[in-house]
Protein backbone atom coordinates (compact mmCIF):
# COMPACT_ATOMS: atom_id res chain seq x y z
CA UNK A 1 0.00 0.00 0.00
CA UNK A 2 3.00 2.31 0.30
CA UNK A 3 2.94 3.03 -3.42
CA UNK A 4 -0.34 4.88 -3.11
CA UNK A 5 1.53 8.00 -2.01
CA UNK A 6 3.59 8.64 -5.18
CA UNK A 7 0.63 7.79 -7.40
CA UNK A 8 -1.62 10.10 -5.42
CA UNK A 9 0.93 12.90 -5.56
CA UNK A 10 1.50 12.60 -9.30
CA UNK A 11 -2.20 12.48 -10.08
CA UNK A 12 -3.18 15.31 -7.75
CA UNK A 13 -0.39 17.62 -8.91
CA UNK A 14 -1.22 16.55 -12.47
CA UNK A 15 -4.46 18.52 -12.25
CA UNK A 16 -2.45 21.66 -11.52
CA UNK A 17 0.21 21.02 -14.16
CA UNK A 18 -2.40 21.64 -16.83
CA UNK A 19 -5.12 24.32 -16.96
CA UNK A 20 -7.70 21.65 -16.02
CA UNK A 21 -7.59 22.43 -12.30
CA UNK A 22 -7.96 26.18 -12.65
CA UNK A 23 -10.71 26.01 -15.25
CA UNK A 24 -12.56 23.46 -13.15
CA UNK A 25 -12.25 25.30 -9.83
CA UNK A 26 -13.28 28.64 -11.29
CA UNK A 27 -16.19 27.16 -13.25
CA UNK A 28 -17.37 25.16 -10.25
CA UNK A 29 -17.32 28.10 -7.85
CA UNK A 30 -18.73 30.56 -10.36
CA UNK A 31 -21.66 28.32 -11.32
CA UNK A 32 -22.44 27.13 -7.80
CA UNK A 33 -22.39 30.64 -6.32
CA UNK A 34 -24.37 32.22 -9.13
CA UNK A 35 -27.00 29.49 -8.84
CA UNK A 36 -27.34 30.24 -5.13
CA UNK A 37 -27.80 33.96 -5.78
CA UNK A 38 -30.14 33.41 -8.73
CA UNK A 39 -33.92 33.51 -8.47
CA UNK A 40 -33.90 29.70 -8.35
CA UNK A 41 -31.57 29.62 -5.37
CA UNK A 42 -33.01 32.65 -3.58
CA UNK A 43 -30.07 33.00 -1.22
CA UNK A 44 -31.23 36.42 0.07
CA UNK A 45 -34.94 36.07 -0.41
CA UNK A 46 -35.10 32.98 1.77
CA UNK A 47 -34.28 35.16 4.76
CA UNK A 48 -32.53 32.26 6.49
CA UNK A 49 -28.93 32.22 7.67
CA UNK A 50 -28.06 28.90 6.09
CA UNK A 51 -26.43 27.38 3.06
CA UNK A 52 -29.39 25.37 1.80
CA UNK A 53 -29.77 27.54 -1.27
CA UNK A 54 -26.12 26.91 -2.07
CA UNK A 55 -25.95 23.17 -1.58
CA UNK A 56 -29.31 22.32 -3.07
CA UNK A 57 -27.79 22.43 -6.57
CA UNK A 58 -24.83 20.22 -5.72
CA UNK A 59 -26.28 16.89 -6.89
CA UNK A 60 -26.96 18.57 -10.26
CA UNK A 61 -23.64 20.31 -10.51
CA UNK A 62 -21.79 17.13 -9.68
CA UNK A 63 -23.71 15.36 -12.41
CA UNK A 64 -21.75 17.37 -14.98
CA UNK A 65 -18.60 18.38 -13.17
CA UNK A 66 -17.52 15.13 -11.54
CA UNK A 67 -17.51 13.23 -14.86
CA UNK A 68 -15.30 16.05 -16.15
CA UNK A 69 -12.77 15.24 -13.44
CA UNK A 70 -13.22 11.48 -13.58
CA UNK A 71 -13.21 10.92 -17.33
CA UNK A 72 -9.47 11.41 -17.65
CA UNK A 73 -8.45 9.14 -14.77
CA UNK A 74 -7.94 6.02 -16.88
CA UNK A 75 -8.98 6.99 -20.41
CA UNK A 76 -6.07 9.40 -20.65
CA UNK A 77 -3.58 6.77 -19.51
CA UNK A 78 -4.96 4.28 -21.99
CA UNK A 79 -4.94 6.69 -24.89
CA UNK A 80 -1.40 7.94 -24.32
CA UNK A 81 -0.02 4.48 -23.56
CA UNK A 82 1.22 5.44 -20.09
CA UNK A 83 -1.02 2.71 -18.69
CA UNK A 84 1.62 0.26 -19.92
CA UNK A 85 4.29 2.18 -18.08
CA UNK A 86 2.23 2.39 -14.91
CA UNK A 87 1.37 -1.30 -14.81
CA UNK A 88 4.92 -2.46 -15.48
CA UNK A 89 6.11 -0.55 -12.43
CA UNK A 90 6.24 -2.62 -9.23
CA UNK A 91 2.77 -1.70 -7.97
CA UNK A 92 -0.48 -3.60 -7.63
CA UNK A 93 -3.62 -2.66 -9.54
CA UNK A 94 -5.34 -1.84 -6.26
CA UNK A 95 -2.64 0.65 -5.31
CA UNK A 96 -2.96 2.39 -8.67
CA UNK A 97 -6.76 2.48 -8.47
CA UNK A 98 -6.77 3.82 -4.91
CA UNK A 99 -4.01 6.36 -5.52
CA UNK A 100 -5.74 7.81 -8.54
CA UNK A 101 -9.20 7.78 -6.99
CA UNK A 102 -8.02 9.46 -3.79
CA UNK A 103 -6.27 12.14 -5.82
CA UNK A 104 -9.45 12.88 -7.75
CA UNK A 105 -11.47 12.87 -4.56
CA UNK A 106 -9.01 15.21 -2.84
CA UNK A 107 -9.28 17.56 -5.79
CA UNK A 108 -13.10 17.55 -5.62
CA UNK A 109 -12.90 18.08 -1.86
CA UNK A 110 -10.70 21.10 -2.50
CA UNK A 111 -13.32 22.46 -4.91
CA UNK A 112 -16.11 21.96 -2.37
CA UNK A 113 -14.11 23.43 0.51
CA UNK A 114 -13.07 26.41 -1.61
CA UNK A 115 -16.63 27.66 -1.25
CA UNK A 116 -15.85 28.66 2.36
CA UNK A 117 -16.35 32.40 1.65
CA UNK A 118 -20.02 31.55 1.19
CA UNK A 119 -20.11 30.16 4.70
CA UNK A 120 -18.35 33.25 6.06
CA UNK A 121 -20.86 35.46 4.25
CA UNK A 122 -23.69 33.60 5.94
CA UNK A 123 -21.90 33.95 9.26
CA UNK A 124 -21.42 37.68 8.73
CA UNK A 125 -25.03 38.31 7.75
CA UNK A 126 -26.71 36.19 10.36
CA UNK A 127 -26.28 33.54 12.96
CA UNK A 128 -26.25 30.21 11.13
CA UNK A 129 -26.24 26.74 12.65
CA UNK A 130 -22.59 25.82 12.05
CA UNK A 131 -23.30 22.17 12.80
CA UNK A 132 -25.67 21.94 9.86
CA UNK A 133 -23.17 23.66 7.58
CA UNK A 134 -20.45 21.23 8.62
CA UNK A 135 -22.58 18.12 8.09
CA UNK A 136 -23.63 19.49 4.69
CA UNK A 137 -19.99 19.90 3.72
CA UNK A 138 -19.32 16.35 4.89
CA UNK A 139 -22.28 15.10 2.85
CA UNK A 140 -21.12 16.98 -0.23
CA UNK A 141 -17.61 15.50 0.02
CA UNK A 142 -19.00 11.97 0.48
CA UNK A 143 -21.38 12.46 -2.42
CA UNK A 144 -18.50 13.67 -4.60
CA UNK A 145 -16.68 10.43 -3.77
CA UNK A 146 -19.72 8.40 -4.78
CA UNK A 147 -19.99 10.19 -8.10
CA UNK A 148 -16.26 9.91 -8.69
CA UNK A 149 -16.28 6.15 -8.05
CA UNK A 150 -18.83 5.71 -10.82
CA UNK A 151 -16.89 8.02 -13.15
CA UNK A 152 -13.55 6.31 -12.47
CA UNK A 153 -15.13 2.98 -13.35
CA UNK A 154 -16.58 4.39 -16.58
CA UNK A 155 -13.18 5.84 -17.40
CA UNK A 156 -11.50 2.45 -16.99
CA UNK A 157 -13.86 0.97 -19.58
CA UNK A 158 -12.68 3.02 -22.53
CA UNK A 159 -9.74 4.96 -23.89
CA UNK A 160 -12.02 7.58 -25.34
CA UNK A 161 -12.65 10.45 -22.95
CA UNK A 162 -15.89 11.50 -24.64
CA UNK A 163 -17.37 8.01 -24.31
CA UNK A 164 -16.15 7.91 -20.73
CA UNK A 165 -17.86 11.26 -20.02
CA UNK A 166 -21.13 10.16 -21.57
CA UNK A 167 -21.20 6.82 -19.73
CA UNK A 168 -20.43 8.60 -16.45
CA UNK A 169 -23.13 11.17 -17.08
CA UNK A 170 -25.68 8.47 -17.89
CA UNK A 171 -24.83 6.34 -14.86
CA UNK A 172 -24.80 9.31 -12.48
CA UNK A 173 -28.05 10.65 -13.92
CA UNK A 174 -29.62 7.25 -13.27
CA UNK A 175 -28.44 7.30 -9.66
CA UNK A 176 -29.70 10.84 -9.26
CA UNK A 177 -33.18 10.39 -10.77
CA UNK A 178 -33.86 7.33 -8.65
CA UNK A 179 -34.60 9.80 -5.87
CA UNK A 180 -37.52 11.52 -7.62
CA UNK A 181 -41.02 10.28 -7.06
CA UNK A 182 -42.09 10.80 -10.68
CA UNK A 183 -39.24 8.55 -11.76
CA UNK A 184 -39.77 5.90 -9.09
CA UNK A 185 -43.51 5.88 -9.80
CA UNK A 186 -42.74 4.81 -13.35
CA UNK A 187 -40.41 2.15 -12.00
CA UNK A 188 -43.10 0.87 -9.68
CA UNK A 189 -45.35 0.40 -12.68
CA UNK A 190 -42.71 -1.67 -14.43
CA UNK A 191 -41.11 -3.60 -11.61
CA UNK A 192 -42.36 -5.35 -8.50
CA UNK A 193 -42.79 -2.94 -5.59
CA UNK A 194 -39.95 -4.44 -3.55
CA UNK A 195 -37.48 -4.02 -6.38
CA UNK A 196 -38.57 -0.48 -7.18
CA UNK A 197 -38.31 0.41 -3.52
CA UNK A 198 -34.84 -1.09 -3.24
CA UNK A 199 -33.71 0.76 -6.36
CA UNK A 200 -34.91 4.11 -5.14
CA UNK A 201 -32.65 3.63 -2.13
CA UNK A 202 -29.69 4.02 -4.45
CA UNK A 203 -30.29 7.68 -5.11
CA UNK A 204 -27.71 10.34 -4.34
CA UNK A 205 -30.42 12.83 -3.42
CA UNK A 206 -32.15 10.81 -0.72
CA UNK A 207 -28.83 10.11 0.96
CA UNK A 208 -27.54 13.65 0.62
CA UNK A 209 -30.75 15.21 2.00
CA UNK A 210 -30.21 14.09 5.58
CA UNK A 211 -26.78 15.74 5.69
CA UNK A 212 -28.28 19.09 4.63
CA UNK A 213 -30.61 18.85 7.62
CA UNK A 214 -27.73 18.34 10.01
CA UNK A 215 -28.17 14.59 10.40
CA UNK A 216 -25.26 12.19 9.96
CA UNK A 217 -27.14 8.96 9.52
CA UNK A 218 -24.79 5.93 9.43
CA UNK A 219 -26.86 4.41 6.63
CA UNK A 220 -26.15 7.43 4.41
CA UNK A 221 -22.44 7.38 5.22
CA UNK A 222 -22.35 3.64 4.55
CA UNK A 223 -24.23 4.14 1.30
CA UNK A 224 -21.62 6.51 -0.10
CA UNK A 225 -18.66 4.52 1.25
CA UNK A 226 -19.98 1.23 -0.07
CA UNK A 227 -20.76 2.81 -3.44
CA UNK A 228 -17.12 3.92 -3.60
CA UNK A 229 -15.89 0.52 -2.43
CA UNK A 230 -18.01 -1.33 -4.95
CA UNK A 231 -17.10 0.84 -7.93
CA UNK A 232 -13.39 0.73 -7.01
CA UNK A 233 -13.55 -3.03 -6.73
CA UNK A 234 -15.10 -3.21 -10.21
CA UNK A 235 -12.46 -0.75 -11.36
CA UNK A 236 -9.72 -3.18 -10.30
CA UNK A 237 -11.54 -6.08 -11.97
CA UNK A 238 -11.94 -4.16 -15.24
CA UNK A 239 -8.26 -3.17 -15.31
CA UNK A 240 -7.01 -6.67 -14.53
CA UNK A 241 -9.17 -8.25 -17.16
Amino acid sequence: MRHIVPIFKREFLGYFRSPVAYVFLIAFLFISVSLAFSRYGGFFRAGVAGMDSYFTFFPWLFLFLVPAVGMRLWSEEKRSGTVELLFTLPITTLEAVLGKFLAGWAFLTLAVVASFPMAFTVGYLGDPDWGVILTTYLGAVLMAGGYLGVCALASALTKNQVISFVISLGACAGLLFLGFSSFTDTLEGLLPMVLADALSNFSFITHFDAFTKGIIDPKDVIFFLSLMGFTLFLNVVVLER
Binding site: P6, T82, T88, P90, I91
Partner: protein, 240 residues
Protein backbone atom coordinates in the same frame (compact mmCIF):
# COMPACT_ATOMS: atom_id res chain seq x y z
CA UNK B 1 18.03 -14.57 -15.92
CA UNK B 2 14.92 -14.41 -18.10
CA UNK B 3 13.30 -17.72 -18.90
CA UNK B 4 10.36 -17.96 -21.28
CA UNK B 5 8.50 -21.24 -21.74
CA UNK B 6 5.70 -21.89 -24.22
CA UNK B 7 4.08 -18.46 -24.04
CA UNK B 8 0.72 -18.23 -25.78
CA UNK B 9 -1.51 -15.19 -26.29
CA UNK B 10 -4.67 -15.20 -28.34
CA UNK B 11 -6.58 -12.15 -29.52
CA UNK B 12 -9.99 -13.35 -30.69
CA UNK B 13 -9.39 -15.90 -33.43
CA UNK B 14 -5.75 -14.83 -33.92
CA UNK B 15 -2.85 -16.43 -32.07
CA UNK B 16 -0.55 -13.49 -31.65
CA UNK B 17 2.05 -15.51 -29.76
CA UNK B 18 2.11 -19.26 -30.24
CA UNK B 19 4.38 -21.20 -27.92
CA UNK B 20 7.42 -18.94 -27.71
CA UNK B 21 10.31 -20.28 -25.60
CA UNK B 22 13.81 -18.91 -25.04
CA UNK B 23 16.15 -17.86 -22.26
CA UNK B 24 18.45 -14.91 -21.76
CA UNK B 25 21.46 -14.91 -19.45
CA UNK B 26 23.40 -12.12 -17.86
CA UNK B 27 25.75 -10.58 -20.44
CA UNK B 28 23.45 -11.46 -23.32
CA UNK B 29 22.01 -8.92 -25.67
CA UNK B 30 19.20 -10.69 -27.40
CA UNK B 31 17.88 -9.20 -30.61
CA UNK B 32 14.21 -9.91 -31.07
CA UNK B 33 13.46 -9.71 -34.76
CA UNK B 34 10.33 -10.13 -36.78
CA UNK B 35 7.96 -8.37 -39.14
CA UNK B 36 5.38 -5.99 -37.68
CA UNK B 37 2.59 -7.96 -36.05
CA UNK B 38 4.68 -11.09 -35.59
CA UNK B 39 4.21 -11.02 -31.82
CA UNK B 40 7.36 -9.28 -30.58
CA UNK B 41 5.65 -6.61 -28.53
CA UNK B 42 3.04 -9.03 -27.20
CA UNK B 43 5.78 -11.37 -25.99
CA UNK B 44 7.56 -8.50 -24.27
CA UNK B 45 4.33 -7.33 -22.66
CA UNK B 46 3.84 -10.78 -21.18
CA UNK B 47 7.42 -10.95 -19.85
CA UNK B 48 7.00 -7.56 -18.17
CA UNK B 49 3.66 -8.54 -16.67
CA UNK B 50 1.50 -6.08 -18.58
CA UNK B 51 -0.44 -8.84 -20.32
CA UNK B 52 -1.42 -12.14 -18.79
CA UNK B 53 -0.35 -15.11 -20.94
CA UNK B 54 -3.05 -17.59 -21.94
CA UNK B 55 -0.55 -20.41 -21.44
CA UNK B 56 3.12 -20.87 -20.65
CA UNK B 57 5.29 -18.96 -18.23
CA UNK B 58 7.88 -16.23 -18.03
CA UNK B 59 10.29 -16.11 -15.12
CA UNK B 60 12.84 -13.50 -14.14
CA UNK B 61 15.52 -14.59 -11.68
CA UNK B 62 13.40 -17.67 -10.98
CA UNK B 63 10.25 -15.71 -10.13
CA UNK B 64 7.16 -16.38 -12.21
CA UNK B 65 5.61 -13.17 -13.46
CA UNK B 66 2.04 -14.43 -13.01
CA UNK B 67 2.78 -15.59 -9.43
CA UNK B 68 4.52 -12.48 -8.12
CA UNK B 69 4.20 -9.72 -10.71
CA UNK B 70 5.33 -6.97 -8.34
CA UNK B 71 8.64 -8.71 -7.59
CA UNK B 72 9.32 -9.32 -11.28
CA UNK B 73 8.45 -5.74 -12.21
CA UNK B 74 10.84 -4.57 -9.51
CA UNK B 75 13.71 -6.46 -11.15
CA UNK B 76 12.98 -5.43 -14.72
CA UNK B 77 13.56 -2.21 -16.56
CA UNK B 78 11.10 -1.84 -19.42
CA UNK B 79 10.95 0.61 -22.28
CA UNK B 80 7.53 0.20 -23.93
CA UNK B 81 7.13 0.88 -27.62
CA UNK B 82 7.13 4.62 -28.42
CA UNK B 83 8.32 5.42 -24.86
CA UNK B 84 5.14 6.61 -23.15
CA UNK B 85 5.54 9.26 -20.43
CA UNK B 86 3.32 11.82 -18.72
CA UNK B 87 3.52 14.80 -21.09
CA UNK B 88 2.71 17.54 -18.57
CA UNK B 89 5.58 16.59 -16.24
CA UNK B 90 9.14 17.82 -16.56
CA UNK B 91 11.86 15.24 -17.15
CA UNK B 92 13.03 15.66 -13.57
CA UNK B 93 9.55 15.34 -12.07
CA UNK B 94 8.82 12.28 -14.17
CA UNK B 95 12.03 10.48 -13.25
CA UNK B 96 11.51 11.49 -9.62
CA UNK B 97 8.07 9.87 -9.72
CA UNK B 98 9.51 6.66 -11.17
CA UNK B 99 12.28 6.67 -8.55
CA UNK B 100 9.78 7.09 -5.74
CA UNK B 101 7.71 4.15 -6.96
CA UNK B 102 10.89 2.14 -7.43
CA UNK B 103 11.46 2.48 -3.71
CA UNK B 104 13.87 5.42 -3.42
CA UNK B 105 12.00 7.02 -0.57
CA UNK B 106 14.24 9.74 0.77
CA UNK B 107 14.87 12.80 -1.35
CA UNK B 108 18.67 12.46 -1.45
CA UNK B 109 18.65 8.88 -2.71
CA UNK B 110 16.00 9.82 -5.25
CA UNK B 111 17.97 12.80 -6.53
CA UNK B 112 21.13 10.68 -6.82
CA UNK B 113 19.28 8.05 -8.84
CA UNK B 114 17.67 10.64 -11.13
CA UNK B 115 21.03 12.37 -11.66
CA UNK B 116 22.67 9.10 -12.62
CA UNK B 117 19.95 8.26 -15.15
CA UNK B 118 19.97 11.79 -16.57
CA UNK B 119 23.73 11.66 -17.06
CA UNK B 120 23.70 8.18 -18.61
CA UNK B 121 21.14 9.21 -21.20
CA UNK B 122 22.47 12.76 -21.75
CA UNK B 123 19.28 14.49 -20.69
CA UNK B 124 20.97 17.28 -18.72
CA UNK B 125 20.04 20.11 -21.13
CA UNK B 126 16.31 19.30 -20.96
CA UNK B 127 15.84 18.14 -17.40
CA UNK B 128 13.65 21.12 -16.44
CA UNK B 129 11.57 20.94 -19.63
CA UNK B 130 8.12 19.36 -19.80
CA UNK B 131 8.09 16.10 -21.73
CA UNK B 132 5.48 17.29 -24.26
CA UNK B 133 7.92 19.93 -25.53
CA UNK B 134 10.69 17.41 -26.25
CA UNK B 135 11.72 16.08 -29.64
CA UNK B 136 11.24 12.40 -30.43
CA UNK B 137 14.88 11.60 -29.73
CA UNK B 138 14.75 13.16 -26.29
CA UNK B 139 11.44 11.49 -25.48
CA UNK B 140 12.94 8.15 -26.36
CA UNK B 141 15.87 8.90 -24.05
CA UNK B 142 13.47 9.80 -21.24
CA UNK B 143 11.92 6.36 -21.69
CA UNK B 144 15.40 4.91 -21.56
CA UNK B 145 16.29 6.84 -18.43
CA UNK B 146 13.10 5.59 -16.79
CA UNK B 147 13.99 1.96 -17.62
CA UNK B 148 17.57 2.31 -16.34
CA UNK B 149 16.80 4.33 -13.26
CA UNK B 150 16.99 1.53 -10.69
CA UNK B 151 19.94 -0.17 -12.40
CA UNK B 152 17.92 -3.34 -13.14
CA UNK B 153 19.50 -6.72 -13.73
CA UNK B 154 17.32 -7.29 -16.78
CA UNK B 155 16.22 -4.84 -19.45
CA UNK B 156 13.39 -5.26 -21.92
CA UNK B 157 13.48 -2.66 -24.67
CA UNK B 158 10.76 -2.48 -27.30
CA UNK B 159 12.22 -0.80 -30.38
CA UNK B 160 14.61 1.46 -28.48
CA UNK B 161 15.99 3.14 -31.61
CA UNK B 162 12.70 3.62 -33.43
CA UNK B 163 12.33 7.12 -34.82
CA UNK B 164 15.82 8.27 -33.90
CA UNK B 165 18.27 9.88 -36.30
CA UNK B 166 21.46 7.94 -37.18
CA UNK B 167 23.57 9.73 -34.56
CA UNK B 168 21.05 9.07 -31.82
CA UNK B 169 20.73 5.46 -32.89
CA UNK B 170 24.42 5.07 -32.59
CA UNK B 171 24.44 6.63 -29.19
CA UNK B 172 21.66 4.37 -27.90
CA UNK B 173 23.49 1.32 -29.22
CA UNK B 174 26.69 2.34 -27.48
CA UNK B 175 24.73 2.83 -24.30
CA UNK B 176 23.13 -0.62 -24.50
CA UNK B 177 26.42 -2.25 -25.31
CA UNK B 178 28.13 -0.51 -22.42
CA UNK B 179 25.61 -1.79 -19.92
CA UNK B 180 25.24 -5.31 -21.19
CA UNK B 181 28.09 -6.98 -19.31
CA UNK B 182 26.21 -7.17 -16.05
CA UNK B 183 22.69 -7.36 -17.42
CA UNK B 184 20.39 -9.50 -19.48
CA UNK B 185 18.99 -7.41 -22.32
CA UNK B 186 16.16 -8.17 -24.73
CA UNK B 187 15.60 -5.64 -27.47
CA UNK B 188 13.17 -5.79 -30.32
CA UNK B 189 13.86 -4.14 -33.61
CA UNK B 190 13.27 -4.50 -37.28
CA UNK B 191 16.58 -2.99 -38.22
CA UNK B 192 18.88 -5.83 -39.18
CA UNK B 193 22.18 -3.92 -38.94
CA UNK B 194 21.32 -3.13 -35.38
CA UNK B 195 21.36 -6.80 -34.54
CA UNK B 196 24.72 -7.23 -36.19
CA UNK B 197 26.08 -4.20 -34.40
CA UNK B 198 25.19 -5.03 -30.82
CA UNK B 199 23.49 -8.38 -30.30
CA UNK B 200 25.23 -11.62 -29.49
CA UNK B 201 22.06 -13.61 -30.12
CA UNK B 202 19.16 -13.33 -32.51
CA UNK B 203 15.66 -14.69 -32.26
CA UNK B 204 13.44 -14.38 -35.28
CA UNK B 205 9.76 -14.64 -34.69
CA UNK B 206 7.18 -15.11 -37.41
CA UNK B 207 3.43 -15.56 -36.99
CA UNK B 208 3.89 -15.91 -33.25
CA UNK B 209 6.46 -18.70 -33.48
CA UNK B 210 10.23 -18.72 -33.01
CA UNK B 211 11.76 -19.62 -36.38
CA UNK B 212 15.42 -19.04 -35.51
CA UNK B 213 17.44 -18.75 -32.29
CA UNK B 214 21.18 -18.37 -32.97
CA UNK B 215 24.14 -16.01 -33.07
CA UNK B 216 24.33 -13.38 -35.81
CA UNK B 217 27.25 -15.31 -37.29
CA UNK B 218 25.22 -18.53 -37.48
CA UNK B 219 22.41 -16.65 -39.12
CA UNK B 220 24.80 -15.29 -41.71
CA UNK B 221 26.13 -18.81 -42.32
CA UNK B 222 22.66 -20.03 -43.30
CA UNK B 223 23.23 -18.61 -46.74
CA UNK B 224 26.82 -17.52 -47.26
CA UNK B 225 27.15 -14.37 -49.28
CA UNK B 226 23.51 -13.39 -48.96
CA UNK B 227 22.44 -10.15 -47.31
CA UNK B 228 20.83 -10.40 -43.90
CA UNK B 229 17.52 -9.08 -45.13
CA UNK B 230 17.30 -11.89 -47.70
CA UNK B 231 17.76 -14.44 -44.95
CA UNK B 232 15.22 -12.59 -42.86
CA UNK B 233 12.69 -12.57 -45.69
CA UNK B 234 13.11 -16.28 -46.23
CA UNK B 235 12.61 -17.10 -42.54
CA UNK B 236 9.52 -14.93 -42.17
CA UNK B 237 7.88 -15.89 -45.45
CA UNK B 238 4.74 -16.95 -43.59
CA UNK B 239 4.02 -13.35 -42.60
CA UNK B 240 3.94 -12.05 -46.16
Amino acid sequence: MIEVKGLVKTYGPKRAVDGVSFSVNRGDILGFLGPNGAGKSTTMKMITGFLRPDAGSATVDGIDVTRDPVAVKGKLGYLPESAPAYPEMTVEEFLGFIAEIRGYRDAAARAAQVDRAVQLTHLTPVRKQTIETLSKGFKQRVGFAQALLHDPAALVLDEPTDGLDPNQKNEVRTLIKGMAEAKAVILSTHILEEVEAICNRVIIISQGKVVADETPAQMRARKPGARLDEIFRELTRGDL
